[in-house]
Amino acid sequence: MLGEPLRRAWARLHTWAGVVLGGVLFAVFWMGTLSVFDHEIDRWMMPPTRLAAAPPVSLDAAARAVAALAPGAAQWSLTLPSARTPTVQVRLPGSDALLHLDPSTFAELRPAPTLGGTGFIFPFHFMLHIDWLDLGLWIVGLCGMAMLVLTLSGVLIHKRILRDFFMFRPRKAATRSLLDLHTALGVLALPFHLVMPLSGLVIFFALFFPGTWQAAFDGDEAAFGREVFGSYQRPTAGAPGTLSSLDAMAAEAQRRWQGGRPFQVRLQLAGDAASYVEMRRAHTQDVSMNRDAIYFDAATGAVLERFESKPIGAVQRFIAGIHFVQFEQWLLRWLYFCAGLAGCVMIATGLWFWLESRRAEHARRGWVGVRLVEALATGSVSGIIAATLAFFIANRCLPEAASAWGLGRQRLELVAFYGVWLGMFCHAGWRGRAAWGEQCAAIAGLSCGAVALNWITTGDHPLRALSRGATSVAAMDGVLLLLGVVCWLAARRWRVRVAAPEPALELARGVVPSSEG
């Protein structure tokens, strides 16, 4: 049992770490939750790639198609179609863009330029799109540690956490019902809230604790990459070379992996006698996000090197797999999504509780704390949701060749996201407490608008999408409609609350929740 002074110290830590980092944490959690379905979001944002399930693909035919697309390219990589991405994806040197090929005809599909879920939402989750000195990664890493601290301190401050878990009183005062919901969601998804930040941190162990590999490898980064991540290189021969059958190499890889299939093929030093092919093993059937790879001599098809993680490395890959959720298990994927949403609501209710429990006192003393935190919290919570919807709407509204202020269509989608987000912060600062409800109403309108625009611009309303097998599109539309309904109800309820303000409960300031009765 914790002593009361220590419990108060934990409560203070929980409160203030949550208030200071809650906004960034929400952004990371929100984008992480969406990233569970980043490939499905890609299908929604890239209508030409909404294909039926892909037939088995001949790698040799794919290689011929890539050679025709980029004759003379010194290297290229292609990712084979999967249940979530039914296209052949090609990456060519000198371009960040991913080309999508129809797996039946190898014709290039040309979605309007967009970063989509995998190019914008997923990287936002782990690096906030701040590249400078890896600052975004470090901020998210700090948030990951903060999330662990918040979760553990949240558990430790409760005297009777199980009783609190079953205590949800929606008809009580706002502060009480917010705190009940915060606690219940925190306990319900407790393993998720512990495992996700920890596994997210472990993925980037080499960045956050570079001293470990620098010490073990005497600073030899190339050796570290080779032995931990299985990277292989050899110098050019300077003589012309050929490419033998990739399908035969894939069959050999499958035999060595005892049925495991390659999902990614990379050709290096193309056209040179030293050219080689890298095949990476698919991880759709395992939790572990393995780094198994086989390198073949391109001319002869002979195996040059095979990489498999050693036991501790395999543990790290298993932990990474838990976080990346790349395995094809739809029920688990939806559970991840729901747990992620529970985390978002938990963070938001924590912030709301802090605001509501201090509002009266801050107003009486003339402090600006509540007003400032409220603006930041509203912009961080409902603001980023509205911004995400603006990103989707911009994707459906902007013409393919759109450009403005020297920015292409892809960048204009980001302008919509950041512009709306900034606008939501300004709106929150201007409208104060009323902003929550107004932004919820805006979210309701934007989410329904996104569904309607998808219907208008592609003809895919949810039922049609479902009937032609585009389940990812139908599911995204369904989730958007549900979000719209929930936010509309929340906006109505918030209006009632703002109209009839209740006396604030003095629950915060380090007071242990369960001791309040």
Binding site: L6, A17, M145, A206, F209, G211, A215, A216, F224, V228
Partner: protein, 102 residues
């Protein structure tokens, strides 16, 4: 004064805790090198570093005796850095050698 103490505490917890975790994980990676492959040593030390950092964070952010905690963190950082230096110079037997000796 209270704000200064809060800033000091957070700086000590985040900065000091990170530094201590970094030097001790590097020392662990060096110490494990003789027992397991160096890739395994680096990965294991890297993963354990987060747990060590987390424990330090939780303790430093809540301990009532900030001065004593600060001294301990300085000691941990210096001790870890010293041990890393000794291990990297090869002047100290690896954990494997120690185990064999036992």
């Amino acid at each position: 004064m209270r704000a200064l103490r809060v800033i000091l505490r957070v700086t000590l917890a985040v900065g000091g805790g990170y530094a201590a975790a970094a030097v001790w994980s590097a020392a662990l990676a060096l110490g494990l090198r003789g027992s397991v492959a160096r890739a395994e040593a680096a990965v294991l030390a890297g993963m354990l570093a987060f747990l060590f950092f987390l424990l330090l964070l939780l303790w430093l952010l809540t301990t009532p005796r900030l001065g004593r905690a600060g001294l301990l963190v300085v000691g941990l950082v210096l001790g870890g850095a010293g041990l890393s230096r000794v291990l990297s110079a090869g002047a100290w037997p690896s954990l494997a050698a120690l185990t064999r000796g036992a």
